[in-house]
């Protein structure tokens, strides 16, 4: 009888633990940096309206970002980014769907910093490509601070850089992601 009760308790605990394991944000940040080494100025945009959901149980991650929301310091740069490069009127959204490869190494119940590798597919400019990125999960106060950095070859996504600015705009863009994820209640 006692063991049964214990088992029941244990299974209830397990069930409750598996609920509420989705974390999310709607104000995540993605930095886009395509400054070429020879460029005298930064070619950099930032988007602060990134949606991200992750499931701590499975390690599944999903990002959605509206391309028009990238803000550049110079208006002209932002217009070129939208009109000539990513064509945000035709392809308004970029998405990433992937999984934390070493999710079993992360103890979500314990505060700390965990190095992770995220693998998945990035849809940008209408093209889908495999992406692998090293990142970090910092678990603190019931929140997860997720950061990652990776490079994309713009040519892979059929984004071409005109010869005129080829010395300024790099062929690869460095993408930095920073999201402060909260537990999804419900």
């Amino acid at each position: 009888m006692k063991t049964r009760l214990l088992l029941l308790c244990a299974s209830t605990l397990l069930v409750t633990a598996s609920f509420g394991q989705k974390y999310f944000t709607k104000s995540g940040k993605i930095n886009f940096d395509a400054t070429s080494p020879s460029s005298p100025e930064k070619i950099e945009g930032v988007n602060r309206t990134v949606t991200c959901v992750m499931d701590s149980k499975t390690g599944n991650m999903q990002f959605a970002v509206l391309m028009k929301g990238f803000e550049f310091e110079r208006a002209l740069m932002e217009e070129h980014f939208n009109e000539n490069y990513v064509e945000s009127d035709k392809f308004p959204k970029a998405e990433f769907k992937g999984i934390i490869d070493n999710n079993d190494k992360v103890n979500y119940a314990k505060e700390g910093t965990y190095p992770v590798t995220v693998k998945g597919k990035l849809i940008l400019h209408g093209e889908t490509k495999d992406v692998e990125a090293p990142g970090k999960l910092i678990i603190q106060d019931g929140k997860i601070n997720a950061t990652a950095e990776f490079n994309v070859l713009l040519g892979d996504y059929k984004i071409s850089i005109p010869g005129l600015v080829a010395d300024k705009v790099s062929k690869t863009a460095k993408i930095s992601v920073a999201c402060s994820l909260e537990l999804l209640k419900g």
């Binding site: 104000s27 959605a64 028009k68 803000e71 308004p92 959204k93």
Partner: protein, 151 residues
């Protein structure tokens, strides 16, 4: 003598044109974004109505509102300040999952900080589109937002 005069006139014109061109390029290159507070709104709509429009037909709503300056009024569901001090003001029906999310222009942070949760606010910003999400609720997103004090 006549020929010399012609050459002089032509070269002056060319020089002036080149200077004007250089000035234009320089100005264009250094052009910053217009302050949303100074720009007239293309559309003025209630937050709940804007959400409804996008939920009903995302494509045609995108065609209408995308990259346009929109004045939105609604109840403030939430104000979020991120770790770098950037504000987002969330408008909409507090019982509904969907909202209009206004990412504030940092030069207007003071106004954002004064916005009260639960109050009625009029915001102005540039629409970047719609993020449909069944789990989290869908959002219409505006960037470079200001609190519209003129109304």
């Amino acid at each position: 003598m006549k020929r010399k005069k012609v050459i002089l006139i032509i070269s002056t014109v060319v020089l002036v044109l080149m200077a004007a061109g250089a000035l234009y390029i320089y100005k264009e290159y250094n052009r910053t974004h217009k302050d949303t507070a100074e720009v007239k709104a293309d559309y003025s709509v209630a937050a709940t109505q804007l959400i409804k429009n996008f939920e009903k037909d995302e494509q045609s709503s995108n065609q209408k509102y995308w990259d346009k300056v929109i004045q939105v009024d609604g109840r403030v569901k939430d104000i979020i300040k991120d770790d770098r001090g950037f504000y987002s003001v969330v408008l909409g029906d507090s019982s509904a999952m969907s909202s209009v999310r206004c990412s504030m222009d940092s030069i207007h942070n003071k106004e954002a900080a004064a916005v009260q949760k639960g109050s009625h606010a009029v915001m102005k910003g540039i629409c970047t589109g719609f993020n449909a999400d069944e789990l989290l609720g869908s959002d219409v997103i505006l960037v470079r937002c200001v609190v519209d004090l003129k109304k």
